[in-house]
Symmetry: C2
Subunit: 308 residues, 2 copies
């Protein structure tokens, strides 16, 4: 799957992943009204609105980008109907040929981590028959519990030829509270990064490991260091756009081959029509605004990489 991700990045020229993180305030009025008319003011109605909103965006951008990253929390807040919308979104993106990174940030130990891995990446055995639960291509994983928590995910990735992005240095302001604390003269995130590189060695695709890392765009200096600590690790970079990261901040996350990183933007793309810059599209054409925002982001990153 990492080879597929790399080849799709090369084909599209866009090291970009679109975060499908729906919030009702982003969903255009006409979609909200149609969903409410059909299902009423219910969880089913809200889930339908999310799904129709996603579908419009996916249809508008699937040929431009290699991957999408649905954030499961946004769906999980709607209970069962939300989880159904999550699954519909994952399935539809895969139909459209997109690589799907499930942003689930799960992490537990032993048989529990195994259950998460099976549920999101692998197949569960039911009396001799096999079923996928949610069937993403990659998932994000929290490393706080150590190898016991990560190894079951790695095992399923090896079986299914799928992959992980493990949290190393997150994009939020308070990520330093624990992640930046110095241990033997080096911050915790660097130790985690070293461990990710080690886990990744047993899981190599052609040029990159399918055990990747998450490092926030909002911390470019740390990205520079981690790029060196984890040379064969693909880095998923959240925090571009709405969280304050810019194209120029991103260059150090990439290797000399122009690969090694994939930049996420969520509301900057999916709610583009609400920005002044794309307001002329109007809510009715929100998906076209998203398409324009992807093209602009692609250009911003390409320019930054060209001028480094």
């Amino acid at each position: 799957m990492i080879n597929q991700l790399v080849s799709k990045i090369q084909k599209t020229g866009a090291p970009i992943v679109v975060g499908l993180d729906p919030m009702m305030k982003f969903v255009p009025e006409h979609i909200q009204q149609a969903a409410q008319k059909e299902f009423g003011a219910t969880l089913e109605g809200a889930a339908e609105a999310f799904w129709q909103y996603n579908k419009g965006i996916i249809d508008a951008i699937y040929d431009l980008v290699p991957a999408v990253k649905p954030q499961v929390a946004m769906y999980e807040q709607l209970g069962i109907p939300g989880m159904i919308a999550f699954k519909k979104t994952v399935d539809y993106c895969k139909e459209k040929g997109l690589v799907v990174i499930g942003d689930i940030k799960r992490g537990d130990i032993g048989s529990t981590s195994e259950a998460y891995a099976v549920g999101h990446l692998g197949k569960v055995d039911v009396w001799g028959k096999s079923y996928y639960g949610f069937d993403e291509d990659f998932v994000t994983v929290n490393p706080y519990l150590g190898s016991d928590g990560v190894n079951p995910f790695i095992k399923v990735c090896q079986e299914e030829k799928k992959g992980l992005f493990i949290l190393v240095k997150t994009s939020n302001p308070s990520s330093g509270e624990f992640q930046d604390r110095l241990i033997d003269g080096k911050p915790l995130y660097e130790h985690v990064g070293e461990q990710v590189a080690k886990w990744g060695e047993q899981c190599m695709g052609d040029n990159y490991s399918y055990i990747g890392a998450v490092v926030g765009a909002t911390y470019p200096e740390q990205g520079k260091i981690l790029r060196k600590v984890m040379p064969k690790t693909f880095i998923l970079v959240p925090g571009y756009g709405a969280q304050g990261g810019k194209g120029a901040d991103l260059v150090h996350f990439f290797n000399e081959d122009g690969l090694g990183a994939i930049i996420n933007s969520s509301r900057g793309i999916i709610a583009a029509y609400q920005q002044e810059k794309y307001a002329s599209f109007g809510a009715a054409n929100y998906a076209d605004a998203s398409r324009a925002a992807v093209l602009d982001m692609k250009e911003d990153i390409a320019q930054a990489l060209a001028s480094r």
Copy 2:
């Protein structure tokens, strides 16, 4: 909710939480067969087997213990049907008067953590109507992302009078890889414990905070230290029984008032009938075996506390 948990512990005399972590190998043949007959070898069939299995156990133990802790991963691995079984289990336990600790180990940032908090503890607004997604009483939270990740959970807890158990020192063998690393002469878990105590100060019930901590029974020495670092924090202690923790290991997790800790056992209770000690119950009476195992565990903890 922390007051309710404390009063239920005092009423039952059992500082015990039963982990409802179903695995098919624990489910008695007759339940598996009935579910398969009704739904075939499908995810729905497996989910039905888990639910019926849980229901038997809940009916047999609800008067003995204050709380249960369903592990969402075990349900999530069955996709949507599994999540439906999770919700059914949560709802049924609440009907029976049990405090429900959702073992979800979620943790993200900002609006994403808020979505998890809303989905599992709070209410989501759908066009002016409010709905609970999964509606547990407490959830477990991963602190790796710092305050940005935890504060949205705290906010929802304050609104809903619910609570958290934040991972501090987990019970697994490799928990030390990151959690034990020394920072300014103290292990990371102690720093996290201090932060949990600080978060908890703003969230006091009568005698304990509703922001609790998770500390594994397999690390009694660390439990002793953390008990002092977090005097007002309720500690959820996994690792008793199957993971190797014994009654005698547990005494240091409790305060002088005999409170402050709640001990989890999962397979030691729910799969008791598979142990030699309870084999005479037989698979047909698996729930009675679970009841006997709860009574034995209660006795083991009471003896350990009496002889300290």
